[in-house]
Each structure stands twice: as C-alpha cells, then as structure tokens.
C-alpha cells in the first residue's frame, strides 16, 4: 500500500541517493512500526498479562497459590509425564535419524511423512484415539477391565497422549542434520576398528548434540504444556490425574483467576526459558557454520 507511492512518483525516487534495493526511510519506518505493533499485541501482551495477573494480589498470595496441594500434585504429574515422554521420544528420534539419515532404503520418504503424522492430528483427536483403543468402550477395553489395568482416566493414558503429541519433535530435528553430515566420519572410524556403538557415541553423537538438545527442549515444552490430548484421556480427577494445564483450566473455570494465572506463570516462564535456550543454540550453530564456511573459503583460496 504505502510502497505504491514510490511507483507513482518515480522521479522523486530517482533524485534521492539511496540504494535501489531498499525502500524509502518513511516506508521502512512504517513497515517496521506495523510489524512491531502486530508482534507486540499478539505476543508481548499475552505474556505481560500472565505475569501481571499472577502478581495482582502480591507475592505472598502468588507463592501460596503455588504451594497449594492440588497445584503440587499437578506439577508432579506433569513432571512424570514429561519425564517419560521426552526420553522415550529421544531414543526414538535417535534411532529414526540413524536409520533414515545414514542409509538409503525403499519407502524412506513415506516413513518420514508417517513420523510427521502426529503434528497433523488435532490434539483432541490424539487423545480420542487412545480412548477408543483402551477405554471401556474401546477395542481393548473389556480385556483391560478384566485384568484390572487402568490406562484411560489414569496416569498411563496421560503419558501415552503426551508421547503421541510430542512424537516427531526430536526425530524431525535430527533426520536432516544426520543426513547433511554424511557417513564419511563414521566410515573412517569403522575402518580404523571402532565398534558400531563406539562410532555412534564418539563420532555421531558429538556431531548432533546441539540438534539433539534443540529437539529435546521443544519436545519438553510441548510435553509439559499439552492440553487438548491430555484433557480427553485424563478424567480430571483433582490431585490425581490433573496436569498443570488442566489444573489451570479448573482454577479458571472456578473464577479463581489469580491462582490460575499464578500456575500459568510457571508454564510461561518455562516457555521463555525454552525460547532463550533455542535462540542460544541457533546462535551457536550459526557461528559454527560461519567458521566452517570461512575455513572452507581459506582452503579453497590455498
């Protein structure tokens, strides 16, 4: 819109001595202003309101809301769920990255698409599929009930739903990385007599460690914050099957706004920490890439 002005008045543009590949300062300011305003309203305000509402009744009330037994139970359950889901998906991600990144085989692209599948499925449907499999009305329900095994409306269901929604995180981060690094170093190690596991732990793992950490923190953030899928399988039993996001919902629906935001502020802090670590890793790997490119350039010149 604003940029159209420059087209209508080409003489004015030509007389100004600015590079042809940038815009008028006024346009630049306007676009930057709109972008900052948009991000401010949509990203900064939600963060600000979480913390300001959490502290609306002061620090003592804030801490008391967090010390409440049901809040503690929710925090514990969230830690358990993430504590199982993240390592499980980590092992899967490494295995998938090794198989897909290091070898060429038939049906590889289909496998990659299938791994991405959980991202395409609505969280609510992700929870529902486990209810249909393990619930009383479900396929395995009668058998589980006969053997007194509870999965749905219990902790195992919450863990399973959490694993499902965070399934692709580590794998999709590692597969392109392993592919890009190629097999040369591993082949050299094997030729020199290293065993398969030695090669993996001494060569591959150090090469992918930042990508691994990147995938793990994103996986963890989602695991601790998942709401829809867990809501379907949890049964909402206070103090027993409530995770932190579900506890926030209960408090909010009971009009206990300040305690709801107090508990929410914990997850908001986790989100900020996640973004910080993520940016730090991105910055670090970018610098490494620049180093490598510079080294390659020097080598090329020689």
């Amino acid at each position: 819109m604003a940029t159209a002005i420059t087209l209508r008045n080409p003489v004015a543009v030509a007389t100004k001595s600015r590079p042809a590949t940038t815009e008028d300062p006024f346009v630049r300011w306007l676009l930057t202003g709109i972008a900052v305003l948009f991000l401010g309203v949509f990203l900064f305000l939600p963060l600000a309101i979480v913390f300001s509402s959490a502290l609306a009744k002061g620090w003592t009330f804030y801490l008391a809301s967090l010390r409440e037994p049901d809040a503690w139970a929710a925090i514990r359950l969230t830690l358990i769920a993430a504590g199982i889901a993240v390592p499980a998906n980590l092992v899967f991600g490494v295995a998938a990255a090794w198989a897909i990144g290091k070898f060429d085989f038939f049906g590889k692209s289909v496998l990659i698409t299938l791994i991405d599948l959980p991202f395409a499925v609505s969280p609510v449907v992700s929870g529902l599929i486990y209810v249909l499999l393990f619930g009383l009305q479900g396929v395995l329900g009668p058998w589980l009930a006969a053997h007194d095994i509870k999965i749905i409306f219990a902790v195992p269901g919450i863990v399973l739903a959490t694993i499902f929604v965070t399934f692709p995180f580590v794998a999709r981060e590692l597969i392109p990385l392993v592919q890009a690094q190629g097999n040369d170093e591993e082949e050299a190690a094997l030729t020199l007599g290293a065993s398969g596991w030695q090669t993996f732990f001494r060569i591959t793992l150090p090469n992918i460690k930042w990508g691994l950490l990147y995938g793990v923190i994103l996986c963890n953030a989602r695991a601790m914050g998942e709401f829809g899928a867990v809501s379907v399988v949890s049964g909402h039993i206070r103090g027993r099957t409530n995770t932190v996001p579900l506890h926030i919902e209960i408090l909010y629906n009971e009009y206990q706004f300040v305690p709801a935001f107090a508990v929410a502020s914990l997850l908001a802090l986790l989100a900020l920490l996640t973004l910080f670590v993520k940016s730090a890793i991105e910055w670090k790997t970018k610098r490494q890439m620049a180093h490598l490119e510079a080294a390659a350039a020097v080598e090329g010149a020689v």
Partner: protein, 292 residues
C-alpha cells in the same frame, strides 16, 4: 535392474534402528489411529453420514474452517511483513523480537487461552477499548479468530525468513538497473521467489488452526451452533458418552488433516524444485560458487 530394498553400506545398526523406529511408530501412532477407523466401521454409512452432516456439526465445520482460513490469511499478510522487516531492516530489539516469534510454539495453549481471554474480555486491556465501538472480541467468533491467529503466527514468518535470507541481492539490483521501480521489483522478483514458502506457511497455519483446542475454548464462549469449534464438539460428544458420534466427527477431521498434510508436502516439493531450477533458468551460477 533388480529391486534392492537397501543400498549397500558398511555402517552397522540398520536393522536395529529401522526395526525400533517402525515398532515404536506402529505402537504409538499407526495402531491407535487405525483403531479409530475400526471403531467408525461399527456405524453404517447412513448413520455416519447422519452424524457428520447434523446441523450442529455443519455449523462447527463452518466456524472451524472459516475462522482458521481468516486467521491463516492474517498470518500470511503479517507473516510476510514481519519476515521482511526481520531480515531486511535493522532496529533496536530486532533479535529479541525474532526469538519471541516462536512464543506460540512454546507457550502452552491453555496459558495462551486464558491470557487472550483476559486481554479481550469487556474489561480487559484491549477489550475495554473495543466495547464502546460495539465490538465484542471475547466470547464471539472474533475471539476464535484472535486465538487462532496467535497459534498460527510463527508458521509464515519461519517458512519465509530463510528464503528471504538466501535471496541474492543481485537479482534485485539487476531488476532495478533494468529500470524496474521498487514496487515492481518486489512484485515481480521477490514475491514469486517467496510465494511457495509463504503458501506452505499458510497451509501449516491453517492445518494447525483447524485442530486447535486449548487456546480457543477459553475465549470462544462455546455456544453450540455459534461459537463451537469442531474439536470441542468431539469433546462434548465424548462427555455425553456418544463414542460413535465423537469418532465419526474425528474421522472427518483426520481425513481433512491428512489432505492438508499432503498439500503441505506437495507445496514443499514445489518450493524445493523452484530453488533447484532457478540457477539453470537464469544462466550459469558462477558468481555464487566463486563466493563460496
């Protein structure tokens, strides 16, 4: 030519890693997903059709798809703008803002939901400015669009950003030296280059929005026929122990999700092919290689 399942390699562990990958994928994802389709087959086709085309279900599709399309479009326009500003201009706080773009991925949806509701309710920070104008943001369809815009915000920015960064300035300089105005250069040179990425981001934002639950349920008000999204309808049916009904709607959503996943993959292939063919179409890529 004989069919070979796997190319020869001296690296060990193919069987173990692929075996584990497929086992884990089957147990966690494939078997549970197929159980859903199995459950639907307990309905006759007529029953299934009756459930998925009930007026309340149709109203929820209209809202879910309509609001998702509007939100994804807002994200397309502002995502292009934000990506452009973050890549091309420098201003104080740019890096901080760049990291903050991923907030909707990192912030749990329930937290986003209650925060947005608090901001847009009639006595909220923004809501109390909108109320005198007669705009009801929270507990309305507008609220659904706001929540979905928040959840889909990073997609277009993050798909377009790397394309803009990799774009050679020479192309713009060439366009300018051949007499193109700035707007013409943007429209004819930059826009076609970022289009595949932007559309991929749009489709991703749309796909995410269609299935979104947590951030919407707080702000939407959840009135049947008016502000009830499809995922919420599934939950409502589950709470009424209508498992068959919930499953039927879920199957509709799954089919839509798979179609969107396919579209996104095709868009990515299209974008990738453009990248590869571009140097060939525009002459020998000598300068680029000389730089490296």
């Amino acid at each position: 030519m004989t069919f070979t399942f796997k190319q020869r390699s001296i690296l060990p562990g193919f069987g173990l890693s692929l075996g584990f990958t497929i086992l884990y994928l089957s147990l966690i994802v494939l078997i549970p997903l197929s159980a859903t389709f199995l459950k639907t087959s307990s309905l006759t086709w007529a029953q299934f059709w009756h459930v998925v085309t009930a007026p309340r279900a149709l109203a929820s599709y209209r809202l879910s798809f309509g609001a998702s399309a509007i939100a994804a479009f807002i994200n397309l326009v502002f995502g292009l703008l934000v990506a452009w500003v973050l890549v091309r201009y420098s201003f104080p706080g740019r890096r901080l803002l760049d990291s903050l773009v991923d907030l909707p991925f990192a912030l749990p949806t329930a937290v986003a939901g209650i925060a947005l509701t608090a901001i847009y309710s009639t006595n909220g920070w923004i809501g109390h400015y909108l109320q005198p104008l007669g705009i009801k943001a929270a507990y309305s369809r507008l609220g659904v669009v706001i929540a979905l815009t928040f959840t889909g915000l990073p997609f277009v920015v993050r798909t377009v950003q790397p394309v803009l960064e990799d774009l050679d300035k020479e192309m713009e300089e060439a366009a300018a030296s051949l007499g193109a105005g700035r707007w013409q250069t943007i429209r004819r040179v930059l826009f076609p280059a970022v289009m595949p990425a932007a559309l991929t981001g749009f489709a991703m934002a749309f796909a995410r929005a269609v299935g979104e639950y947590g951030s919407v349920v707080f702000i939407s008000g959840n009135m049947p026929m008016r502000t009830e999204i499809t995922p919420l309808l599934i939950i409502t049916k589950l709470e009424q122990y209508d498992y068959a009904g919930a499953t039927a709607i879920a199957v509709v959503m799954l089919i839509v999700s798979f179609a969107l996943l396919l579209t996104i993959n095709l868009l990515q292939v299209w974008g990738g092919r453009r990248e590869k063919t571009r140097p060939a179409l525009e002459g020998p890529p000598i300068p680029v290689q000389a730089q490296a």
